[in-house]
């Protein structure tokens, strides 16, 4: 009899009807003799509404208050699902992050889980009760509510699975698994039976919304067996119909490219007329790092005028205003008065990911050629061992995805 952690995302708990459906799935596992802990997201749309309230009050709001506000959605779902399970005769209770507690660091709005106290939990499993855990949230050393960033409930689930030594962590979502590309944009996208942690990590970090990046990191580190599957299919998790995350050596077939992703969450910033002196990059990026703004793609141009240089980089679109305000301060404090800033949010980051890339040359070149053939201009390029990303105009995103999907032979033959 297995010990399962089951996680249900926002669309899986969007309505009371959907929550009842989730309760049926959990009940089926319990009746099959398994022990289950369930991690839930907020009802679809709720977190967005709460975030927009915060933005409306002030784009530069206190992240501690933001966390108090946005964590409430998961609290609601955890209580409702516990009720729905009780209605089915299943012993269940809700757990908030601070009740367990799920201890995090102090990085409000993007906190990292540091420890989970599982003592009470293990008692629950012994007592055959289902723990319904509010995902996305934890508690700081100061006793303030923290949240784990968008998609953080995945990380809650994987961390919990690691902490209690679960046999599997089933991530129920509104898609049937991990696809080669977003089927909403590329109808010929295929569902993958397996994907290795490294590929999933790259895909998650460049726009595949199916799992939060940190949850994949944690699954890889803690060797948690994760399955991504649909909460709307009839079969329960035990039937293994989704996509399994495995380690590279468990992979049955290594594809050249496993997936193509698109991220519209980035904004591009270009700084012109920067003094080309040692330490200038540190002056720019230091304050951003301090403010926990994740700078992603960075390109420094060799400028015509040898005393000046240009710098282009991307930051999360949500951090754009904050980045501009931080940079305006840096200009004053750091003697960068002559510098000019341009910024744009009309960009998309297209990435190809595949572990097979390691042993094959020409993969990136095929990407550049395919985009060139469609007349798509590339603003910035960045690469890793198993990934190539390009920044292009947002209006070309769908076109680029479809062209690349075909070029790499990923189209579903069916």
């Amino acid at each position: 009899m297995a010990l399962l952690v089951m996680k249900f995302g926002g669309t899986s708990v969007a309505t009371i009807e959907a929550i009842e459906n989730v309760a049926n799935k959990v009940a089926a596992e319990v009746r099959a003799g398994h022990s289950a802990a369930v991690v839930v997201s907020a009802m679809a749309g709720v977190t967005n509404q709460l975030v927009s309230y915060c933005q409306e009050i002030s784009p530069l709001h206190d992240a501690r208050e933001y966390d108090a506000v946005v964590s409430s959605g998961e609290q609601v779902t955890s209580g409702l699902l516990a009720m729905a399970l009780q209605k089915r005769g299943i012993n269940a209770r809700s757990w908030q992050g601070w009740q367990i507690p799920i201890l995090t660091d102090r990085s409000h709005a993007k906190a990292r889980i540091e420890d989970i106290d599982t003592e009470k939990f293990k008692q629950q499993f012994a007592g055959n009760a289902v723990a319904v855990v509010a995902g996305f949230q934890g508690i700081s050393p100061e006793g303030r509510i923290t949240t784990l960033g968008r998609g953080g409930s995945d990380t809650s689930a994987v961390a919990l699975a690691a902490a209690v030594g679960a046999d599997r962590c089933d991530i129920y979502t509104d898609v049937k698994g991990v696809y080669t590309c977003d089927p909403g944009i590329v109808p010929k996208a295929k569902k993958l039976k397996q994907i290795c942690y490294e590929e999933m990590l790259e895909m998650a970090s460049v726009g595949a919304k199916v799992l939060q990046t940190r949850s994949v990191e944690m699954a890889m580190k803690e060797n948690v067996c994760v399955q991504v599957l649909s909460s709307f299919a009839d079969a329960v998790g035990s039937d293994l119909k989704g996509t399994l995350l495995v380690s590279e050596d468990e992979l049955m077939e290594k594809a050249l490219i496993s997936g193509i992703t698109c991220s519209r969450d980035d904004a591009k910033i270009t700084l012109r007329k920067l003094p080309d002196t040692p330490g200038v990059a540190a002056k720019i990026f230091g304050p951003l790092a301090e403010a926990s703004v994740n700078v992603d793609m960075i390109v420094q141009n060799i400028a015509a005028d040898t005393k000046m240089t240009d710098l282009t980089f991307t930051v999360p679109r949500a951090d754009l205003e904050r980045t501009i305000s931080i940079f305006n301060k840096s200009i004053k404090n750091e003697g960068l008065e002559g510098c000019e800033m341009e910024h744009s949010s009309d960009v998309a980051k297209i990435s190809i990911v595949g572990i097979g890339m390691r042993s094959h040359a020409g993969v990136a070149q095929q990407m550049f050629q395919t985009l060139a053939d469609k007349g798509i201009n590339i603003h910035v390029i960045s690469t890793s061992e198993i990934k190539v990303s390009v920044l292009i105009g947002e209006e070309y995103a769908e076109l680029a995805l479809r062209a690349l999907h075909t070029a790499y032979g990923l189209d579903d033959a069916a």
Copy 2:
């Protein structure tokens, strides 16, 4: 410089614009040199939505899970108001019930505050920061979230005012104060400048929605100076434009009748063919008391058949299903098989309240005559020292209120 507790109800924080308005009022008090703690309700409509989710899953849901669900609305508002105050340059932070902590008993969904730990709070006031407290919620001895019943944020505010020794507790609401009757039903209703605790207590317990009954009890017991005023008027609380709750000896003018209220929250239950033996009432009401169902008006009829009796009583409409289910069990367990039950929710309880009633005869008679003149049948009567309540058909409620308001000379001359 005063220490104020300011409480804002659901309509006062219904939108972000309304929350900004509240922040302006708090900021005005702080800039005038006062210290402030603010207690907030959920945004109007939110709690109703959450309650209906719970009802949809199961009318017989676990009250502990209900509390986890419905307490989330206040969490949101507390965070948003803290942000809005910070935007105005005011040092503020949100506090959840479990963070303070506000310790309650275990009566989930209608918990009573047992203690408030004000140590951290008093440090806050010393540090000149505004504490924004999520109303309505507390924490049980087991560490579960509790709620204080509908309108419980009033009680949170008064309890906090008592605990920190506030100079005044201002209850901001969507009306300008306490009225002789609901102005929505009786346009000639007058705003009272003062009302004594005892009258307010009776009025609150029989349907005047302006304050939660328990908050008035607590204000009376702890001698907290409470003001009810509008959050939509321009003046700030210091201008004393609302209704003040005072003790009887502070009352400047004692009216015969201070107010007339209407409650539509009751359901009537009649039990027929009960055996007329000692202990039968205990058999009926014992299980209801154990389940924390508040039985209000009770009438036992002398039956024609001397071995049988009839019993009529009212319970909160929200508890009707539970009452029926409890009673059906009692019938089996307690040898009451021959008993028949009737129930109705189409009733309204009309009450006249006034401290002057103590020294005047004929007040109740005038009520009965006024209703009789309008052809309104009275189902049940109950009285206290300063109150007379009658249960009538719900369809006659508005007619009864207007007739009584005129009969007791309360109509506004203006």
